[in-house]
Amino acid sequence: MSLFSALNTAMSSITALNTTTRVISDNISNANNENYNARKTKLNNNIHGGVNVANILRKVNDGIFKDLANSISSTESNKVMDSIYRRIEQLIGTSRGKTPLIKKMNALNLAWKSFEATPSSGASEKGVIQAAVNLTKEIQRISNGLDQIYGDLEKNIIDSVATLNKSLNKFHKLNIQITNNAATNLPTANLENLRDEQIKIISKLIKVKQIKNNDGSVYLHTTTGLSLASPNPAIFKWDSANKALTKSGSGSLDLIADNSVTMGRISSYAQLFRIDSKATTDPDGRLAPIQKMRNKLDEFTFILMDDSVARATGSKFLKPGDNLVTDHGLTIGDIISITVAGGATTAITIDATTKVSDLLTSINAITNISARIDSHGNLQILTSGENMTIGETNGTPLTKLGFSIGKYDADKPPGFSYAYNEEHVAGNADLRGVSDLTTLAGVTAGDTFDISVAGGATTTVTINAGDSIDDLLIKLNNIEGVRAKLDNNGFLNISTVKGKLNITNNTNTPLSSTGLGIAAVSGNISIINKAKPGEQNRGFFQVKNGTVNNNASRLNIQVNKEILNGKKHIKDSSISKVVVAMSSSNRSISGSGITVTNRNYTSIISSIVVDLTKKSENFGKIFAQEKAIKDMLYKRLRNETGVDIDEEVALLSVIQNSYSASARVIETINKMFDALSAATR
């Protein structure tokens, strides 16, 4: 924050607070009555009133005790948040001013650049491999650390619930003793002090409301009115399996999600364990911070692994078992349409039983389209074709799932894994606007060529009379794993990232004709960027055995085993493209309370870390402030005589004046700096 904006913020706060305090001061009886201002005694019963001042003081002290209890709940709640964020910061390294994750991502970037400069250097290649290993190890170290914190927190909440139950029991017993003593005119002061101590302990754990009854007992309840000790002490339970807090006598399956238990340590701990959609999508740092951090790491890992061409992501939190109609408001008969690179459109109809997992299956069945639930719980549709268009033929199913309807174009430049994996053939003839391919030199109707990817089935492509270049592109983009486009010069480019590309003329030689202009050596079509013998053709990063790439996460990413074991080398032809991919600022992640768009990989990691640091600072600040208020209230109550009314009002007035003076000097300083900055401009 700049100096000037900081000052402006302070001034706004001062103005707002002045108004509040003035209203309260004006409400004090006779505060402005000069007849009473000259009195020398500190506090007087009004000579005409004969009111019992001690009674007022007692009630004021009771009121402040309630404030203190609330303040304790708030302080403890923020203390927990502060301590958790501190631990996460320690893990990430920001508290030491070091962030190994950013450093290692940056090191990987630099290692690739160095490798680009000296591609034949074995040391440079090793540098890349080591940097990549370091990055994956760091991701896993953080992941393990988060699991450790998570486990500790679970222990803390179990302990806290046990303390709460014990304290409610003690409170209940003291209440009975006080009532009995009061009924028989025995002293209750000591017992009341002991009860106050229990209320303070309980307030540390959950926020409570207290009502003093005429018989001397205190009715204790939650902020939503759940009785805590009447007629019997409540028994709370932490359900570890479902991460839910329950209470005897209450039908609630989770008092935290219901907001029946707020503030205090238990609430803060429990908020951390929430995995519901609200908690994991809300930017509020109190909710599920560890799960959100895991999600962000998972999604970062995925974007390193992602070799798709383009993708669309919804914003609705989904679970595979959810019914799309009953759980997410889609309508029976809604139709989703998906088109790859202007080809045929596939329609998916939603019926009464369609689950999220069914929708995934239907989308995954479309050629060159895949779908996944991303780390943030959102549906993501990806294409390997040149582009895709998602639409709604009936109803608004995709809109309801949080998608923007329309065309999604290819990444420019492509991402890391795409850059590594891609191999292609390229023409040298400008085919823009060609409406009939058979008019091109060397191309005749009925010509065919064969294409296969990763050793899979061969597809024969036929050039028919009247086929335009667009028709050919559609045919090619309709082959699984194949992407076809005209490049910036209008030259035909057929590529894949799914494995070895094999493309050959079949009937005649249309590909290597002058018309299409694809280079061939001794009649064989030249594949560009293909792996040389001994090189790993795809998957610099890979997921561990048994996992599909779309489920890449912080837990399963690794450097390709073949490369790591020295059996294969890094594909030389990919180096420059990977370097471009790593430094290009067109990567994005969105979800788990953070949206980062158009950044490079390092910058995305930095944004995740900065977001964490900001939240941590914020909780640190809130905790410090709440604690200061709690301490001030505690000091007033610790005094045997309790609150001194005259001094309190006078103090408020003086502090208010100080605030005004600060506002004035800040304004003055502002003017001075304005003059200075004008002069030095």
Partner: protein, 153 residues
């Protein structure tokens, strides 16, 4: 430690220097207040706030002069600029701390005074006060407020 800096003190120094003195004394004052606000004491705070008000009055005059005479800021040496930049950063930090501490003290005081106001309002008044209306007749309809606040403190 006496941090009172008068207009005369400032005027006796070179003008860029007085600008630096001005900022330094402001920082010193806010530092003192920040310390006091950790455990607000009515007597000490009152004295400090009076000092604060007086000092700021002097500052305003200085700043007004700066606005009139551009040469002061135009002729700042690099050294003075560096010094001012350093002090500005310190001021930024301390004023932020001061604002936070005042806000905390106000919040706590507000909570206490709100209870006092509420209980005072709720407390039953005593007997009726004899008084005279503008018709010269005696009235005894005004009921005494239960307690009063001593503003001489």
């Amino acid at each position: 430690m006496n941090n009172n800096i008068t207009n005369k003190d400032i005027s006796n120094k070179s003008k860029p220097q007085s600008l630096i003195s001005l900022l330094s004394s402001l920082i010193a004052l806010l530092e003192r207040e920040n310390k006091l606000l950790d455990a607000p004491d009515i007597a000490q705070i009152t004295t400090l706030v009076e000092e604060k008000q007086n000092l700021f009055f002097e500052y305003e005059k200085q700043v007004a002069m700066l606005g009139i005479d551009n040469r002061i800021v135009n002729n700042l040496t690099n050294e003075a600029k560096t010094e001012l930049k350093k002090l500005s950063e310190k001021f930024d930090k301390i004023s932020d701390e001061n604002e936070t501490k005042l806000r905390i003290a106000l919040r706590a005081s507000n909570m206490v005074v709100t209870h006092i106001a509420k209980e005072t309002e709720k407390a039953p008044g005593g007997s009726y006060i004899n008084s005279y209306g503008n018709d010269g007749n005696s009235h005894n309809k005004r009921k005494a407020r239960p307690i009063t606040v001593n503003h001489t403190l």
